[in-house]
Amino acid sequence: MAMTLPDLQDWRFSVDFEGIAWAVIDRRGESMNSLGRGPTEELGKIVTAVEEAAMRGEVKGLVLTSGKESSFIAGADIREFESFDTEAKVTEVVKQTLELINRLDRLPVTVVAAIHGYCLGGGLELALACDWRIADCEEVTRLGFPEVKLGIFPGLNGTVRAIEAAGPMDAMTAMLTGRMLRPAAAKAMGLVDQLVPTRHSLRWAARKAVLQKRRSKGAPWWKRLMLKQPVRSVLAKQMRAKTAEKVREEHYPAPFRLIDLFERYGDDPVRMKLAETEMFTPLMASDTSQNLRRVFKLSEMLKAEAPKDGFKPRKVHVIGAGTMGGDIAAWCVVQGMQASLQDLDEAQIKKALSRAKGLFTRHLRTPLAVETAMERLIADPAGKQIKHADVVIEAIVEKLDVKQALFLKLEKEVKPGAVLATNTSSLRLEDIAKPLADPGRLVGLHFFNPVAQLPLVEVVRGERTREEEVRKACAFVTAINKLPLIVKSVPGFLVNRVLAPYMMEAVRCYQQGAPREKIDQAALKFGMPMGPLELMDMVGLDIANHVGKELQLAPKDGNVLETLVRQGKLGKKTGEGFYVWEQGKPKREDLAYDQAELERLGRELVQPMLDEAERALKDRVVANADHVDAGVIFGTGFAPFRGGPLHYRRMEQQAPRAAAA
């Protein structure tokens, strides 16, 4: 009875002597499984084979599982999205895939998804079309719908099936937040029917499920009650309000369209399926989605700067326990490393440790994990851990002779192969490295404040820095779950260089009489995560002023920044800057401005940023235009749905009106 399909590339298929068909996705030449054209077509052949065998009574059930270490199916193959620029093209592909998934759904035998590793997006939609879902509880196993982050929502009838499985509240929350769920959470919601402890048990649990003809019961009646009106509209209203707290509908329409879909058709699966496709298509073809897909690819591009194997840092030593140094060490600990923190001033270390505890409490799941993390963060005033460290980062005062002396000493103490890095932003890397016996060893690691929140780290390549050291530094950055951007050693590197003219433009507008609220609102209208004046208050006006002068951007006469600094109004840290700050929030007057006017002003504010991005590209501060865009998006929060400053500019030039949407 043994049956196989020999010509498959991305799947393995066989039927065993008990009559169970096994379809194992294991995409050739890929480290992760994704659903693209190839695997989808092959799955079609598999479904056909099972349909036919089931008619002959030769197959009792089908198990879908994966041959990869860390993914079931991590989503659709985003590389193929490139071609989805018109609605017609989207419709064609979606239709074919929908048909396949519906055929899978209708198979007369039991279909089981046995899930190990990432099961995301289209992968989860496929799993939801199965009769029974089993996940293991290993650390790499995660389920979720990340679609909203790409400007779309599930488009393979996943909206309908997720609601059927988990009920409206849980399913919509999962789809609206895009959160990755641990197996236990997915089980609690109903997205998964059964858990097994390790991947070794998956095969056997799946076999039993087929033999017992298990079928998911779907969400319980009390969850389904919420699908009925008027409850559904009340729910939808709450969801809209919650989503609006996070993003603006004009910039990120996808979650709002999803809520519309739910409100209109939530209790009618048949019509909801049709409407899902109808509403999905324009989203997929929109500029917003194309740009967000671009942002995703840019993040993958930065991750790829780190070599896959070789350098595996585990121990970090940070010198200088100020805000920056302390936060870098604490972040490394959150990411599982051991960090030691050195400072002449032990009180500084103590302060950093107590700040770290706050960070651990927010990021780690159990008190035990917090306690363990505290033990991993070592107060090391004498620098005893230097010789054990894989990465040593300096974050002390910005004084050349002090830094030179420190690195001279460090060079002799660190172990061979360890990364030697400075977090300087205002001194030349080449100058610091000059006295070293091996100046090619020093790299820059420029973190941004607050370390825990900003995803980018600039990896600074000095004129003499060896490529190998740059790559090791990138490996360290990805190991702490940040994105490395390799930059040339020039003033302001990329991010501050591009950000500063924008801030100074805001100062100029303010000096010319524009209200601070209007300036900040205009920036938000453009899509910046925070207004420039509020941002400067957060960073500290002394620092902003310093950077402005350093880059020779400060207005020559009557600089309001200078005045505020002289008055001791340094922003949030002193309680007043452009705004008066109370309880960590700026006091704002609630004024409404004309939207068109805000749009004009927002565009005006970012213009210097776009120009500077162009100049940075010309000066080859980073490798190419994509790197400029990636750095500015991840380093400044530049409106991700616009795809980056240079991309935005190109689009605007191609179609002046369309891009300003």
Binding site: T198, H200, R314, K315, G336, T372, E375, R376, H388, K415
Partner: protein, 440 residues
């Protein structure tokens, strides 16, 4: 993947082969109810094995036998060693044997493997051990457990109810595992107090030995000696029992833990703590090691297990004196022929009593059947990287920890020879000799 050696014919005719110790890997040891409070023996053993696999690039490799176990263990962990192998990256064809000899477990496992390697039965083996007192099994008392069994076998409500005749609520109290000796009802510490008194071991001498153990262990981490021996687990990077800031004054303030009459000398400070952890060590034939390009750190040349009649009053933890004496006799060596002594520190008093017994002509003649005392050892060669008082003592893991440390010492320093002795519950002792690989 299985590699068979050349056909050997009848075993007795095969010449003995040397047994190489290639090195070990363990997870940091943690005091019970701290960082590993939520881990099981299987979790820890799998993590330690993972470290060994990474260190020696054993991914997908078939190892001929994996042997070891845990002392404090759940009934469901009856196949612990094999389950750890399945959860590891070793080839799934690797068989494993779960065995146990209290604190001697992983050293005994290594001796068994060594015998099979020496006689050509296998080419490679991993000895391992794990223990946790954080995840100790709580079971129903026997009386109540038997009621449950009877009830499950009874048919009908009446007969089922009848099995509960005479039930008292006290039966429901769960029974924790006990570290007391079943025959004497005394705890290990109480037994050791008796030994301290018999051999006149002072509080000061015990505290000093414990103090030095912490100092040496801290120095071992500081100099990087532990770097390749320990892999992080559950976010922990180093043993959490080592106190480099410890002082003799502070230790002197601690109250005796077992004999509170005023004459007790054993405290929490000069005993090994209850500890969670796991350790592994890789053994092989020289051919196997060479084929994989793995340097031989040391050779495991001889082992000996002995027991004392503690039920009739001998010191419970004095068996190593016998095991070592018999081992020396077999090897034709004197006690002074070693560069390193690794004497497991269950208690400082037990180490000191052992040393004193070897120095006692009376004891050596009467109990060990020798003509003269074995004599003193050079204390500077004793536990040079610290031992169980500092690192902690997850019972079954300690043997593998010591094997890895001693093998590395011999490898690093071109030392010639090292002696291991471990005392165990039930009045037993396990001893072994490691020889340097660079002696030729």
């Amino acid at each position: 993947m299985t590699q068979y050696g050349e056909p050997k014919g009848i075993m007795a005719e095969a010449s003995m082969r040397r047994v190489a110790v290639l090195g070990g890997s363990r997870i940091p040891f943690c005091r019970s109810h701290t960082a590993y409070a939520e881990l099981t023996n299987l979790d820890m053993l799998t993590a330690a094995l993972g470290g060994l696999v990474d260190r020696f690039a054993l991914h997908g490799t078939h190892v001929d036998e994996v042997v070891g176990g845990a002392v404090v263990t759940h009934a469901k962990d009856w196949n612990l060693a094999r389950e750890a192998v399945i959860g590891s990256a070793l080839a799934p064809t690797t068989p494993a044997i779960t065995m146990m000899q209290a604190c001697g477990t992983s050293l005994q496992a290594a001796l068994g493997l060594a015998a099979k390697i020496a006689t050509g039965q296998i080419e490679s083996g991993i000895a391992l051990g794990s223990d946790t007192t954080s995840d100790a099994p709580l079971v129903f008392q026997r009386k109540f457990a038997q009621r449950l069994v009877k009830m499950s076998r009874a048919r009908g409500f009446g007969p089922k109810a009848a099995t509960f005749k005479g039930f008292i609520p006290g039966e429901l109290a769960p029974q924790p595992p006990s570290t007391s000796e079943p025959r004497t009802g005394l705890s290990m510490g109480e037994h050791c107090e008796l030994m301290a008194k018999e051999w006149g071991i002072t509080r000061e001498a015990q505290d000093l030995l414990a103090y030095e153990s912490h100092q040496k262990a801290a120095a071992a981490y500081d100099e990087g000696f532990m770097d390749d021996l320990v892999v992080p687990c559950a976010g922990v990077f180093r043993d959490n029992n080592i106190r480099e800031d410890i002082s003799l004054e502070k230790m002197a303030e601690l109250k005796p833990a077992f004999d509170r009459s005023g004459s007790g000398t054993i405290t929490a400070g000069n005993s090994s703590p209850l500890t969670d952890g796991a350790a592994t060590v890789l053994l092989a034939s020289e051919e196997w090691a060479e084929k994989r390009g793995l340097p031989v750190q040391a050779y495991l040349t001889l082992g000996r297990t002995s027991a004392v009649d503690f039920v009739q009053g001998e010191g419970l933890l004095m068996a190593p004196t016998v095991a070592v004496s018999e081992l020396l006799q077999q090897a034709g060596l004197t006690l002074q022929d070693f560069d390193y002594y690794e004497i497991h520190e269950a208690f400082a008093a037990q180490v000191l009593a052992t040393l004193k017994a070897w120095e006692s002509e009376d004891y050596c003649r009467r109990r060990l059947g020798r003509d003269a005392a074995l004599g003193p050892i050079d204390r500077a060669r004793l536990n040079v990287k610290g031992s169980s008082i500092a690192f902690g003592h997850p019972f079954a893991a300690t043997g593998a920890r010591i094997l890895a440390v001693l093998a590395k010492l011999l490898h690093n320093r071109d030392g010639q020879r090292g002696l291991i002795s471990i005392c165990t519950a039930g009045g037993m002792g396990v001893a072994a000799i490691l020889e340097g690989a660079n002696r030729d």
